[in-house]
Symmetry: C2
Subunit: 150 residues, 2 copies
DNA sequence: GTTGATGCAAACGATTTGCAACTGC
DNA sequence: GCAGTTGCAAATCGTTTGCATCAAC
């Protein structure tokens, strides 16, 4: 748990201005564990910050994510990607070019089920994130694929 | 590998009309392993089917997915969900209500890395899919959250 | 011949962007 | 005071939908 003082000094150390909105979004996110969306946070924080805009929440989440203070659940890919392989398998996603490779490894197919809270698992999948061979070598041959957000 | 004859009889057995477009999308998807998006498929198939529309590709992918012939990579969630927990952890996603629960289990944190193709893994996460306690019991207390697509 | 799929264009929801006003440092 | 952020509204992107036409069975 990172307290307000630490947050303040982390922002300072990175030279990023700490605004009320940024602190509010971060503290709200710290206070709950239901993985809210940008919209959820906006609706909640509107009460305390009537002038807050949804665009600011989005920008703030990007900032916090870039600083490593928050994580995004699921893939940041905005487009659904399809696969004719329906057998159990997993994926390796290149963070640089967005390429998705299939990973077949029976050791990944049988993982301990989540114990908590009565969840009834039906399936699972493992996503590796890292660099594909091409990007790791520095030849950015696939880089064109990804329309880098920023 | 499912050949054209099997595809035809599978459609017939389910009473789903097999159109040229559906066969084309499915065979294109079978032929490649780069996990194309709907748009990718559309651009590729335009050459052979100049009258093909993007909407048809989307509808066809839904149909194929419903029949279990293709799988979607990543989560079908359309909204990004955030989390102030940046430590290594995993997620259990309820297919009925969309609720996301954190899963902490050190046995999931150290999985065999993908061996193939020179991929350099940096991190990974496991997504369990199934039913949360509430939905498994039939009380759909959280169902409102999910604006069921269909 | 019927039923359901296609193609088109408009609608939609999530996210981003341009720009003027404002605020943290 | 200045650089960088905010708020607004419009733009953008992926995806869905309504409806008339057309193809599969």
């Amino acid at each position: 748990m990172i307290d307000r003082k630490e947050v303040r000094s982390l922002f300072k150390s990175k030279g990023v201005p700490l605004t009320h909105q940024r602190l509010a979004v971060y503290e709200e996110l710290q206070a709950r564990h239901d993985h809210p969306s940008a919209e959820d946070l906006y609706e909640k924080l509107r009460g305390d910050y009537p002038s807050l805009s949804l665009a600011t929440v989005y920008k703030t989440l990007q900032t916090l994510h870039a600083m490593g203070l928050v994580s995004r659940v699921d893939s940041p890919a905005s487009q659904a990607r399809y696969d004719a392989v329906t057998a159990v398998h997993h994926h390796a996603v290149c963070d640089a070019c967005g390429k998705i490779e299939d990973v077949f490894d029976p050791r990944l197919d049988d993982l301990p089920a989540p114990k908590a809270s009565g969840f009834k698992p039906r399936a699972h999948s493992v996503h590796f994130h890292g660099l594909c061979a091409a990007c790791a070598e520095g030849r950015r041959s696939n880089a064109a694929r990804r329309s880098h957000h920023g």
